[in-house]
Amino acid sequence: MSVRNEKYPEVTLAAIVVGTVVGILLVICSTYSGLLMGFTIGGSALAAIVGFGILRGLLGRGTIIENNINQTVASGINIATAGVIFTIPAFYLMDQEFNFALAAASSAAGAALGVLFIIPLRKQMIELDRLRFPTGTAVAAVLRSPGAGVKKAVVLAVGLIVGAVVTALTVAGVLPKTVDLGPLVGSPPYVANVWAVSVFSLGAGYITGAPGLVVLAGGILAYWLVAPLAVEWRWVDPELINQLRHASGPATYQAGAEIAQWIRANINRPIGIGMLVGGALIGVLLSLPSMGGALRGLARAGLKETREELPLSVLGLGILAAFVLLVVATKTALPEAELGTVLLIGLLATVWIAMAGLVVAQATGMTDWSPISGLALLSIVVFFLLGKEATAAILIGAAVCVAIGECADMMQDLKTGHLVGAVPIRQQVVELAVVAIGPIVCLLVLDVLARGPGIGPDSTMKLTAPQAQAVVATIEAVEGGGVPWGKYAGGATVGGLLSLSGFPGLGVLVGLSMYLPLAYILTYGVGCIVQVVTARVVGRQAAEDWGLPFAAGLLAGEPLVELGYVLYRLAFTAAAGGAAAS
């Protein structure tokens, strides 16, 4: 290691350029995979690995904190994809025209609002609550690997290889994506007993450790107790029960799986979303005294010799600017609406972004899972009812969806930054500087794909946009008057009481367990149990020192293979298109 006396590089042109290029590449791949298969690619760990390769390997430079800026930029650009592809393709599915500039403006406003709203909570969530943010912790382990010693670097590499190999085998179809233990243990067919083959969930569970066991317990209560009772008491669609009665052999488990799916969509999910919102809001109310202290610290930070946080005045101005942009976009989408109505919608959207961002940041901090899709659907319902018009509801839904993704990403990045010693204001400024790139690139890619392979529910079309189909279905349900308000409100009450019970974040954790599919909760739970057992057997420090790099490798291995697979599919599509043209 050479010793240098010059300034320690952190925000450099190389870091920003590499981060931007990697981020744009990830947006292209994520947009394609999201429209084709319904999943996007996590960017932080990938950007850290690719950044190391380029900055250290090719350019022969790149400090730990410089690479942290690279991953902050790349993930900040990439995360917007999830929000855009979840909502905007609904226009194509409904065969409705939309204004590109309007979509770009509202998504960019949402992205900026997401970052601006969450910055003041850094002290509370990272320094005081010390939420784990598993991906942020894993990325820090990747970034710190050059200094952590050869043995730990090897452990991380082994984790990465195991993660990549298992994911490659599932992608290739050699290993199943899920394993149904129901027939093996003889559990009733409608009791979900499916386990996901997901090294990512396993790694996230390990990094979360004991607190994640609450999610496992909540999942078991929701799926193994509430669900069977719902079937027993005939609360489920009678047609599905009939199908189950008349099924035999393997078809029994197929019919049972449909019932489990129905229960999740109609009971667990809406109650879970309510719990998340109620639990997070009560959590915030309980944290007000320490949050006040943290905010006073933030105000004091401005008086220090070197500023470490974006000042509250700048955040306020930024929020105002993004609010104005959102109002302009809403007014353009709803030209007939009165200014008062538009201002009210803009204000509600801004307040909702702050609230939903908080929920998502807490959920991500505690478990690594963010209920983005559920909150986005709820946003679309609320704003459709307010504006009585699908275009504005989808545009605001896009803004909310992008915003809450950015909230979670900013916090993950700031957690990584804390662990490697980055100066928060530098991360905050670069994230704000690049935050609009993601939605714009994603919209451009969407436009190209819509003109090329096409987007639509028609089976002859290649890209079916599975997540946006949920948006269309929700709008149709709202038009039919079928919003489960009782379940949302009931869930919020239960979630609020759970958070009042003295266990920090309990409402959010149980809400997540009701909201998520059990298959991932079970695998995640295995990761949590492995961590607890390892800590008991070899000691907490050893479990952290050696288990964390391995889990970080698992977390990075899965998106690495997914990226490779999507690149392969993109190349295959391009080659097929070229052959057809010739």
């Binding site: 010390r130 200094g147 107790l225 202290g293 010693g421 009481l497 019970s501 920090p504």
Partner: protein
């Protein structure tokens, strides 16, 4: 016993309330009648949950009374419920270790492991006890103290990164910043030990 009972009631209450609220969907036929049956079930679940919460908080009355002066009155010293002296000792030890590294810095490069040891040996034990400390100090004082400790930790992490990357000037600067924050934390703790200083 109280904790076990409270936990049991909370679980049962959550399940009952969830089951009650599971039947409140206006799109189902005859939902008004169903609500008449199921809202009482949900209400019973909520009552069980509230009982659990009341039990849990009533169990905390004694320590809360003992530490009443700890809350947000800036002039009052914290009660002896928490060993503030141990926190002061750990913070002093961390600061002294940093001083030693700063003095050695001129002669040899600081090994990253030595920096990491300060975090794991002196700061982590305090950080791991943060829930008890929060309960004893109250939200405002907790935020003041832990905000500064976390900043010191971040500067130590930066010193570690700079040491790995080979930037001794940055190591020195970051160690100095970490020491400054720990001194602020110590001043805070000491002011609580001497009544009337804050």
């Amino acid at each position: 016993m109280r904790t076990v009972l409270s936990g049991f009631l909370l679980v049962v209450g959550t399940v009952v309330a969830t089951l009650g609220f599971a039947r409140t969907d206006p799109k189902e036929p005859g939902w008004r009648q169903k609500i008449q049956i199921h809202y009482p079930v949900a209400a019973a679940g909520l009552v069980l949950m509230l009982t659990a919460i009341a039990l849990r908080y009533s169990g905390r009355v004694a320590p809360a009374d003992r530490g009443r002066n700890d809350s947000d009155d800036p002039a009052a010293p914290p009660s002896t419920g928490i060993d503030i002296g141990a926190i002061r000792q750990a913070l002093s030890a961390a600061r002294d270790q940093i001083r030693t590294l700063e003095q050695e810095e001129g002669e040899t490069a600081v090994p990253p492991a030595a920096i990491e040891r300060i975090v794991t040996a002196h700061l982590m034990p305090i950080i791991e006890r943060r829930h008890q400390i929060l309960e004893q100090l109250g939200g405002r004082r907790f935020a003041e103290l832990f905000g500064v400790i976390a900043e010191a930790e971040r500067w130590l992490n930066r010193a570690w990164s700079a040491a790995v990357d080979g930037y001794p000037a940055e190591v020195n600067r970051s160690l100095a910043n970490a020491r400054r924050d720990l001194e602020s934390a110590l001043a805070l703790v000491e002011s609580w030990l001497v009544p009337g200083t804050r």
